[in-house]
């Protein structure tokens, strides 16, 4: 039995173009993968969870019902950038290490590191915290695609394999994180 897993976002519908702290970071996108049976484990156990204490760090600035009732303008996405940055780098580095441990691999075993493409500064600092060797290719799809939320990891994985087909069959650490704040990390064998 195969499964189709899709991540799709149309963030442009909920962006305030006058909000300099976020508007130019975000993009629209969609990506999908087919997950199916395999002779070997191709997806490690997932390390996932949430930190509700930071529920206000990322979210919509109004509700749709407030908009409907004329009490607020069209809701848009906002975030406390520095709070998200700190959490995404230092807390997610711990989650990434747990995922590696769960999978029984070391950072040096990774052919690729594919974090959610939230922000290039997060990707850079995150990679530094994980002490990834130079041989690990780091996905930096955000440079041209922007932060496409749920689509970012499939899009980044696809581009990474297009640009580095030799990585097919290698191990990749994928880690997603976002509003909630929620997170999920796993090691996969790249298709």
């Amino acid at each position: 039995m195969r499964r189709l897993v899709i991540g799709a976002e149309k963030l442009s519908d909920v962006v305030d173009p006058t909000d300099r702290s976020i508007s130019f970071l975000l993009g629209d996108g969609a990506g999908a993968v087919v997950v199916g049976p395999s002779d070997f484990p191709g997806i490690s156990g997932t390390v996932w969870g949430s930190d509700g204490s930071k529920a206000d760090a990322v979210g919509m600035n109004h509700t749709l019902t407030e908009f409907r009732d004329g009490k607020a303008p069209w809701p848009t996405l906002r975030q406390e950038g520095p709070t998200v940055f700190r959490w995404a780098v230092w807390e997610m580095a711990k989650v990434a290490k747990q995922a590696l441990e769960q999978a029984g691999v070391e950072a040096s075993d990774l052919a690729a590191f594919i974090p959610h493409q939230a922000n290039m500064r997060i990707v850079d600092e995150f990679a530094k915290q994980l002490k990834l060797p130079e041989t690990t290719v780091i996905a930096r799809d955000i440079e041209t695609t922007g932060n496409t939320s749920a689509a970012s990891i499939p899009l980044a994985t696809h581009r990474l394999l297009q640009e580095h087909p030799e990585l097919s069959g290698g191990l990749a650490l994928q880690i997603g994180f976002g509003a909630g704040l929620v997170f999920g990390a796993q090691v996969v064998v790249l298709p």
Partner: protein, 82 residues
């Protein structure tokens, strides 16, 4: 161990240099992080996390925006040690 004002200033200057390349001599108490040193919010957060480790203090996220000058940060760190 408690660091003195001068030690915190010197230690903070080192962290700022590591993160931004700004010369330690530029890091004076009256300097504003954003207006004088041109340090953005992301670099500021990296410096804050490293300062927490270096000085053994806690600097909550919502406190960071109150640290407008180098002097504000030094005072907060010194006070946080007591």
């Amino acid at each position: 161990m408690a660091f003195s004002n001068d030690e915190v200033l010197a230690g903070l200057a080192e962290l700022i240099t590591d993160e931004t390349g700004i010369d330690a001599s530029e890091v004076a108490l009256e300097k504003s992080f954003t207006d004088d040193l041109d340090i953005d919010s992301i670099s500021m957060m990296t410096i804050v996390v490293n300062a927490e480790e270096k000085f053994g203090v806690t600097i909550p996220d919502d406190e960071v925006k109150n640290l407008k000058t180098v002097g504000d940060a030094v005072s907060f760190i010194v006070a946080g040690q007591e």
